[in-house]
């Protein structure tokens, strides 16, 4: 009899929980074969599980791979919207596939929560589409954050900057803007393109030697990081600072002695000390057995947290009500406070983060330490560094 009572009360509790929960099916479209895409999906799933366990919102996540290509992304998104019939989509990591997705998004009108896609072209493509929430900063925010740091270094005596940029869209897209902004800030600039993953930078670095730069600034991919750091030493370039801007840093780079004193920019590190970041790191480690350094993981996590708050506030998973509630969400996140406002250009209505989430870190003693802005720094920057 006692057993029966326990079973009955458990059943009632479960039924009550499921009745109180709002169920929502969310489509996720990401480049799942990339490190960033996988990290983002992990973060999304983690926050979805937390929401379900907390009894607030029961998420059903349907994920598809955008193949990081337009011709794969368009049918994949169409499937989410028409076959899986989701009204809410999280995705858009790369700018190219996101631009291609603008067509089906405008046709089927889902609530589209963009996790990446920093190119201003995306901002133009989604102008006038009111169910577009862009969480990641735009490219001009990224430039502003980096420029703020370079102005600080100018104050520390830096005058010459040598830029090594990969000749693809990632490296060369912002080059004319960067060059002009740096020159306006008083820097003498010398810039040269390179082919990413070529592994041989000695010719360019040797040419840079006669320029005697204070800063060696490279824009490329993770696989370029170590050859540049190593070969800059080999040719005796001796800059006062090596500053890298890859989308992700290579795994194990921190363990290599040549990484020491190298500086870069990130929106998040596991060492970020706010409460939400600490909670995220602990929960992520518990679920996946590791600590991630990919900022796309907390970005995915943040999006689902914001969505949970919006659905809870709306008391419904109905797309328009959720969008209305999401516009008013104010949330503390691993990146800091989140609230939506129109983008700086006014082209889109709901922009989440801006340049304030970016910070500069330096590889010091085998770990990344936040060094700028000075007020949030874990350690003072080593300038000049030893290379």
């Amino acid at each position: 009899m006692k057993k029966l009572w326990v079973l009955a009360s458990t059943a009632v509790a479960v039924m009550g929980l499921s009745l109180a929960q709002t169920s929502v099916k969310v489509g996720v479209i990401l480049p799942l074969s990339t490190v960033g895409g996988k990290a983002a999906l992990n973060g999304i799933q983690l926050a979805a599980d937390e929401a379900t366990a907390a009894g607030k919102v029961r998420f059903e996540i349907v994920s598809v791979d955008d193949g990081n290509a337009a011709d794969k992304a368009v049918p994949a998104l169409t499937k989410l919207l028409t076959v899986d019939k989701v009204d809410i989509v999280i995705g858009g990591l790369g700018s190219g596939p996101t631009l291609a997705m603008a067509g089906p998004v405008k046709q089927y009108k889902p609530l589209f929560l963009a996790i990446g896609a920093a190119s201003s072209l995306v901002e133009n493509a989604f102008t006038g589409y009111d169910d577009f929430f862009h969480f990641h900063p735009w490219d001009y925010h990224n430039v502003a954050a980096a420029m703020d740091f370079f102005k600080y270094l100018y104050g520390q005596g830096a005058r010459k900057i040598a830029i090594l940029y990969e000749d693809g869209p990632f490296g060369s897209a912002g080059m004319p803007t960067y060059r002009k902004l740096l020159q306006d800030a008083g820097y003498e600039v010398q810039a040269e393109p390179f082919k990413t993953n070529s592994g041989n930078f000695t010719a360019i670095l040797t040419r840079f030697k006669s320029f005697q730069p204070d800063i060696l600034y490279w824009i490329g991919y993770d696989w370029d990081a170590l050859p540049i750091a190593t070969q800059a030493r080999q040719v005796g370039l001796k800059p006062k600072l090596i500053y890298g801007a890859p989308p992700a840093w290579p795994i194990g780079f921190d363990k290599n002695p040549n990484s020491n004193d190298v500086v870069g920019m990130s929106a998040w590190l596991p060492s970020v000390s706010n409460q939400e970041s600490r909670n995220f790191v602990a929960a992520y480690k518990k679920k996946y057995g590791e600590v991630t350094e990919e900022y796309m993981a907390p970005m995915g996590y943040t999006i689902v947290k914001a969505l949970t708050a919006a659905i809870t506030a709306a008391g419904s998973a109905e797309k328009d009500k959720v969008a209305e509630a999401l516009a008013k969400v104010k949330l503390n996140t691993p990146f800091g406070p989140l609230a939506f406002k129109p983008s700086d250009t006014g082209k889109t209505k709901y922009q989440g983060f801006d340049s304030s989430i970016w910070f500069q870190f330096q590889y010091l003693g085998g770990a990344r330490r936040q060094v700028y802005p000075v007020q949030g720094a874990a350690r003072p920057i080593r300038y000049p560094g030893s290379y």
Partner: protein, 303 residues
Amino acid sequence: MILAGVLLLLALILPALPLGSWQAFALDTAQFAFLLSGLALSWDLLARTGQLSLAHGAFFGLGAYTAALTAPLIGTLPSLLAGAAVAAVGSFLLGLATLRLHGMYFAIATLAFSEVMRTFVLKAGFTGGSIGMIVAPPFDGRFPLGGYYLAVTVLGLCVLVSYLVSRSRFSYAMAAIRQGEPVARVLGVPVVRVKLLAFLLSSALAGLAGGVYGMKTLFLSPYDAFSLGRAVEALVIPIFGGLYTTTGPLVGGLLLVSLETWLRLRIGEGYLVVYGVLLILAILFLPRGLVGWLSRRRGGGHA
């Protein structure tokens, strides 16, 4: 050819088939499959002269960029023709310089051409450079199925040209050149002229497919439009389907795109491993392609 006709008819009536909630997805997937199959058919036209081109990604890109840049000025259809024309001019210039080369040397020259074109578009200001450019939908988006039927038309045109060429005396000249240029010359075949004409036809069709592709993806970047991967796909599809035929690249393209899409949906991460293994098996055990294997089973008919 009956099979090709049936497939084209199916393509025409696909939007009217009762596919339920899968319809939009099927149409999107089919549209990309048609364009890729069209590109493969165009590649096969040149391959019939024995030349292995790695420039078809570049012709595709030239067509895509030209159509995207000119569409706001002259409209959808003229811009697509302009794309085909620019691709043909590109191939003519490339052909004049390289068609006397053979085999691997020609392939390397076409590969270099692709790189030069990509770098040009990357550096040119009017193309949007490395940032890429937004492309308007066909007919300013007034017809929801406009892009789809453009893709069907491109595929139909590629099938028609491929079929007419294979039924003409031109195909004998191409086959003679493929089997041995010196012998073809002795037989009185104007080798360079035949190869140049095949190159022109082939590149114009590739450019046409590229133009429609850009209008579907609504965005072009040099790395996507001039992708070497696409040039390789254009080569793999006819090998899989059956070289020097019309049905081979058509069936190969439709099957491979469908297979890849299905694997991506069913397996997700790591689907390319399965896709790659299946391709290797097909090439190992179907040396004459799918169509060649079917013909042999039927008793050696022509595909």
